[in-house]
Subunit: 192 residues, 2 copies
């Protein structure tokens, strides 16, 4: 009886530990269920959450291993207003935005890096997925090629750093269903 | 005694079910530990794996909800050779490549879609992460803006569809450690 009792306790302890692991959503679930969040409660992200998002961003692949990403985290509403000609209401509601920027040159001769945009896009997607993974809402706002000069000026960016995307991150107000975008007709085999 | 016995059995059953869930890697683990895979065993991906990767790709966000992504899955070695001026050895070793393409125009007037590249990059990152999540290796090979005309010709793509990235997917030969790219000096607050 004593043995069975200890076995039960051990199984329960193991199970609790499993549950804690299972509480982290799987990568496929996050990828498939992520959607753009544009309504926020106003509760701000914590420094720990922000670091997770930035770590996820910097884990992106990069062409020629240039890691050209740079970040400006903005929570000042006046700065947000100055960054865009289109109104910063969503950003102010979220409370925090991550401006994903790219260093557009590389090497000793400051050659153009043809892949800085691709790298910044990968960073942006990683941040969106990480936000979903930790229960936050976020959305990809394209800055480049629309109003990068205004954002650059508001943030005082150097000439060789271009703001690429602006990602508000916050606590979602309400919830939505992800779009079903699966379309097998978009898949071809060996030839178009 | 009977009750304790049944409790133990129930806890064990629950635990097995938890373990099965936990076997799916978490989103953050996958994002942080993904790396570029260039060595493959030659074992080919299955149709079910391929569908998971393509579903993950199509779950990406897209500017103005254009969903401009198109895919050509290539497993024919001669086609691979014809797609690039740089040699297709890695692709042939993986056995399968996914060519992520973008429709570069939109709407009734065939206006240029300024966000097709960003969308294709998000698709590519999703595919890389999904590959890692299901235990496959993959790497982002930039096609655009380097040799898109050669790939377009080899695949017979329409004029308004541009090949963006080429992602070999397969079973990794060996294993590596992900790069540590975390660099807090790349983070600024409110101003550069």
């Amino acid at each position: 009886m004593k043995h069975i009792f200890f076995a039960a306790i051990a199984a329960l302890a193991l199970c609790v530990s499993c549950q804690q692991q299972a509480a982290q959503p799987s990568a496929l679930d996050v990828i498939m269920s992520r959607y753009s969040v544009r309504s926020y409660t106003g509760e701000k992200v914590t420094e720990a959450q922000l670091e997770t998002l930035l770590r996820a961003g910097m884990a992106a692949p990069s062409g020629m291993n240039q890691q050209p990403w740079r970040f400006v985290v903005v929570n000042d509403p006046e700065t947000m207003d100055a960054m865009t000609p289109w109104g910063a209401d969503t950003w102010k509601a979220a409370g925090t935005v991550i401006v994903v920027c790219g260093k557009t040159t590389m090497g000793e001769n400051n050659d153009a890096n043809p892949l800085w945009e691709a790298d910044c896009a990968a960073v942006t997607e990683n941040i969106l997925l990480a936000a979903k993974a930790i229960g936050l809402g976020a959305v990809w706002n394209a800055c480049y090629p629309f109003f990068q000069d205004k954002t650059r000026e508001a943030l005082g960016l150097p000439e060789d750093v271009t703001p690429y995307s602006i990602v508000p991150v916050g606590v979602e107000q309400g919830s939505e269903q992800p779009k079903d975008k699966w379309d097998p007709e978009k898949i071809h085999r060996n030839k178009w």
